[in-house]
Each structure stands twice: as structure tokens, then as C-alpha cells.
């Protein structure tokens, strides 16, 4: 049982972050990698909200707005790139997208 305290929330956030990181490391589907990146961002927002709540400050909560917006923009651009790439290469597998190397 994890107590619903600051450290508890923080642990969940860190765990979420870690899971996202592992996903980026091991997944080869670009889309899934992307999802994992989003997980990392969400983990940050979770920690942010938790800190705001437990520290009694407002800036963290406001910051979440910005993070969400940025994430949306990022995803939009990223998906556009992925689509364009897929149209040229017919794949979104990371290990096949390695024409640029060495």
C-alpha cells in the first residue's frame, strides 16, 4: 500500500516517467514511442499537480496548462512528420528509418 501522500504521488509520477522512458528505449514502433513520450510528459504534470497541492502553490497548476498545450502541439507536428514519412517509406518502424547514419 502506498500512502496517498506527497511521496506517494511522487513515486507514482516517477514510476510513470520510468515506464515511459523504458518504452522509448525498447519500442520500435514510432507511434508507440511517441505515446511513451507523452506518458513522460503526463508523469511530469502529475508530479507538478501533486507538488502544487501539497505545497499550496498555484504556479504548478498553471504550468500544467502550458505543458498540455505544448504536448498537443508536439504530437500534432510529430504525427504530421510520421504520416509524411510513412507515405514515403511505407514504414514507421524505427530500425528501418536509418538512412541517416555513420
Amino acid at each position: 500500500m502506498i500512502p496517498a501522500t506527497l511521496n506517494g504521488y511522487l513515486a507514482i509520477a516517477v514510476a510513470l516517467f520510468a515506464i515511459g522512458l523504458v518504452g522509448v528505449l525498447v519500442r520500435r514502433n514510432t507511434l508507440v514511442v511517441f505515446m511513451c513520450l507523452e506518458l513522460m510528459l503526463v508523469a511530469s504534470t502529475l508530479a507538478l499537480v501533486a507538488f502544487s497541492r501539497f505545497n499550496g502553490t498555484m504556479d504548478g497548476n498553471v504550468f500544467v496548462f502550458f505543458i498540455l498545450t505544448v504536448a498537443a502541439a508536439e504530437v500534432a507536428v510529430g504525427l504530421a512528420i510520421i504520416v509524411a514519412l510513412f507515405r514515403k517509406r511505407q514504414t514507421i518502424q524505427i530500425d528501418q528509418l536509418n538512412t541517416l547514419k555513420h
Binding site: 516517477v14 510513470l16 522512458l21 508507440v32 505545497n55 497548476n61 504530437v75
Partner: protein, 171 residues
Amino acid sequence: MGHLLFNVIALFTLIAAVGVVVNKNAVNASLCLLLSLVGVAGLFVGLEAYLLAFLLLLVYAGAIVALFLFIVMLLDTKGDARPTLNRLPAAARVLAVGLVGAGFVSFLTRGRLPEPDLTKVPALGADLKLYAYQLFTTYLLPVQILGFLLLIAMIGVIVLSKKFEGLEDIK
């Protein structure tokens, strides 16, 4: 919120997150992401940040994950196709999981912060008016920047996707 509920939601969130990572199928992965986000929104609620929970669902679940799903369907990929993909040695995966896990454990053991007394701290996040004040006074500049950010993101997506007259296009 009760500890039990917190634990349930937290567990749910994490399991869903793990689902994103381990699911072979991208559609399933995005659905797991959705579930995980819902869980996080639940945690937000637990933290009395109702607006943020709502926004999270709206923006993430409503827009982003939908977009993901849409693209996944559009591109119609079958997840990680096994045979060609297994070029990253399993050892590397183990290493990755091990290192990240070690980091997590190390954080849990060393990164313990003093616990504030929740009852004495006001739940500012629950107050909608404060968001408005902050966004339109203190953080007006970032808001403006974000406006431009969204603009260029939009233009970028257009540039990357639209057919341009007179310019050669994607073959």
C-alpha cells in the same frame, strides 16, 4: 480520497502505462494510453485539481489519443513485426529496464521529501478564478508565446501535409 482508492487508481494507471509499453499492437497501446490518462485524471481529482483533470481528459484523451488512434488506423501497421525487428539485443532491453528500475528504486530510497500536512495547505488548484488571474496577468507572456507556438505547429502540419500548387509533391 481514501488510501485504498488512491492505490487502486495508481495501480490502474501504472498497469495501463505498462500496457502501452508491452502491447504489441499499436491500437491496444493507444487504448492503454487512454486508460492510463484516465487514471492520471483520477489522481488529479484526488489532488483536487478538477479543472486540470477535466482538461487532461479533454486534451489528451479527447484530442491526442484520438489523433493517435486515427493515425494508427490510417497507417495500418501491425505493431512490432517480430522477425525483422529483433535486432536490438534482449540484453539491451534488460539493461534498460534494469537501469531505469535501479533509478526508480534509488529515487524511492533517497528522494524522500518531508511530508507537508495536507490539512493545513489550501487546495488552490480547486479555485477556477485563480487560474484565470494567473494566466492573464502573471503568465500572460507565456500564453502569448503559446499562441505563436500553436500557430507555427499548425502551419508546420500544413506544410508537411498539404499539396502545394506548382511545387512538386510527395511522390
